[in-house]
């Protein structure tokens, strides 16, 4: 006498499987590290500067992504021209590229011998600098923000925007006073995805910005460098990154609720 499994229990099973699959590797990492190596790892001289650099550059990258990406997302959400879908696919393209190749591409665009260096003047100073780190993160992570934000904006009722305009708001003010706050939860999720992606970014940074402790060595680069010599150390760094990331991601979810004010 077996009961037919309900849709609900199948769904729960599927969802649970995915959570386990995503969490298991991290648990394995945690178990393999052990607490002794944890404290030893965090006092490694590579760790502090890399952490500081990662926090600073991802913060800058996030600001750049939000400032540049929000108008683009809004346009994508409102436009119904043919061009829109093309731009949307173009903007998503960097996700498809392996980050290391994006790094090569960035070198070829903004490097000393880059194809655009004759056009855009002497941009040769960018590679091997903190600016390069930020640019690499922006290019890698912005597509996630733009797509997520465009999706959030699509749900903003245009009749509501009409009312805001009618009540005296210019398009820009209606955007800031109505569209952005109404879409805020979705924008925050998109921003947190992009920020997480920037925090984990490795390949493009390595190629475009190089790997110099205290200058361009972000936490993922430090992890990779450590990985060559001492897996344990790399694991400890990674756990620190995960802990930090998890904390900030949680914060980014709780914050918008508080901001909105309405319970």
């Amino acid at each position: 006498m077996r009961r037919k499994p309900s849709g609900h229990s199948i769904g729960t099973l599927l969802a649970f499987t995915l959570v386990v699959l995503l969490v298991l590797p991290l648990v394995a990492l945690l178990l393999s590290a052990g607490t002794a190596s944890l404290s030893a790892g965090l006092s490694d001289p590579l760790f502090g500067p890399a952490l500081a650099l990662s926090l600073r550059t991802t913060a800058l990258a996030l600001v750049a992504i939000v400032v540049l990406g929000t108008p683009l997302a809004w346009w994508l959400s409102r436009s119904s021209t043919r061009g829109r879908m093309l731009v949307e696919a173009l903007v998503e393209l960097p996700i498809v590229m392996p980050p290391a190749v994006l790094g090569v591409a960035l070198l070829q665009a903004f490097g000393r011998d880059g194809v655009f260096s004759p056009v855009v003047g002497d941009l040769g100073g960018i590679p091997f600098t903190e600016t390069a780190v930020v640019i690499a993160q922006v290019v890698v992570a912005a597509p996630f923000y733009v797509q997520g934000a465009a999706n959030a904006f699509r749900e903003v009722d245009s009749s509501m925007m009409g009312v805001a305009r009618s009540l005296g708001s210019s398009p820009a003010r209606a955007f800031l006073r109505v569209a952005v706050p109404a879409a805020l939860p979705g924008l925050c999720v998109a921003a947190s995805l992009a920020w997480a992606r920037a925090l984990g970014e490795f390949g493009a940074t390595l190629l475009f910005a190089g790997n110099l402790s205290g200058e361009t060595q972000t936490l993922p680069l430090a992890i990779y460098t450590a990985l060559q010599a001492d897996v344990k150390l790399a694991v400890v760094f990674s756990l620190a990154l995960a802990g930090l990331g998890g904390f900030l991601l949680l914060l980014l979810r709780v914050l918008p609720r508080k901001v909105r004010g309405i319970q």
Binding site: D157, S159, M160, G162, V163, A164, R165, S166, L167, G168, S169, S170, R173, A174, R177, V178, P181, A182, L184, R260, G261, I262, Q263
Partner: protein, 244 residues
């Protein structure tokens, strides 16, 4: 002329073709469902663009395909209340009503705007809702808030799309009277969509009867009663005259 409404537009298969003028400050758009009432209101508000035509309200040209003119919505200064309410979900009721007061030309401070908004809420008997989130309101409560929001700003004219349809009978009566007094004292040009002949009566409005995108009759209630142009007008007028 207070109203010059000359519009041609196409929405899917539906064609709108209206060309009328009026000196009456208060207009009532009446007509069967889908006859184009909301579409006209949305075009005057600027939420929808006609293919061609000319719109003037209280001496200001809002749209003119001949002159290539299309005044931006925010500069039309109309108190627009759409059929679906469209409250701002992220603002509480008071801030919904205060919204327009913080923009030009009012440009009030946050505190002043809220003070004003409270008064506007009082006019629709809803001060008690000030701190509530829109999604927790009942249908009638939402409608009152949307009406208060449109009345709070100092518009050049009012555009109200079925503003009383979800109100209970007591509230409908009292808000209608409040509105009539307000319009009488300010002389604010008002266009109202309604299915209720009592609204027309209370405001002393001139009726424009729409059918399938065209105005088929125009006149006061008395004129309509004297010569109803079709069955709809008869039903519309009869509804006010007792039980059916």
């Amino acid at each position: 002329m207070i109203w010059t409404v000359e519009l041609r537009a196409k929405l899917g298969d539906f064609g709108l073709d209206v060309s009328l003028e009026s000196e009456a400050p208060t207009l009532a758009l009446v007509g069967p469902n889908g006859s184009g009432k909301s579409s006209i209101v949305r075009m005057i508000a600027g939420a929808l663009s006609p293919v061609a035509g000319e719109l003037q309200v209280a001496g200001e040209v809002l749209f003119s395909s001949r002159a290539g003119l299309n005044v931006a919505m925010e500069r039309r200064r109309l108190g627009y209340m759409p059929q679906g309410f469209s409250l701002f979900p992220h603002l509480n009721v008071l801030d919904n009503v205060a919204y327009g007061l913080r923009e030009k030309p009012s440009g009030l401070s946050r505190r002043e705007a809220r003070e004003f908004a409270k008064q506007a809420l009082r006019r629709v008997d809803s001060e008690g809702l000030a701190e509530r989130a829109p999604e927790t309101l009942s249908g009638g409560e939402q409608q009152r808030v949307a009406l208060a929001r449109a009345l709070a700003v100092s518009p050049r004219a009012l555009l109200l799309d079925e503003p009383l349809s979800a109100l209970d009978m007591t509230a409908r009566h009292s808000v209608r009277q409040t509105l009539a007094r307000h319009l009488a004292s300010t002389g604010l040009p008002t266009m109202m969509v309604t299915h209720d002949v009592r609204d027309v009566a209370a405001l002393g409005a001139e009726c424009w009867v729409l059918e399938n995108g065209r105005v088929v009759q125009k006149g006061s209630l008395g004129e309509l009663r004297a010569r109803p142009s079709n069955a709809f007008v008869e039903d519309f007028l009869a509804a006010g005259e007792g039980m059916d």
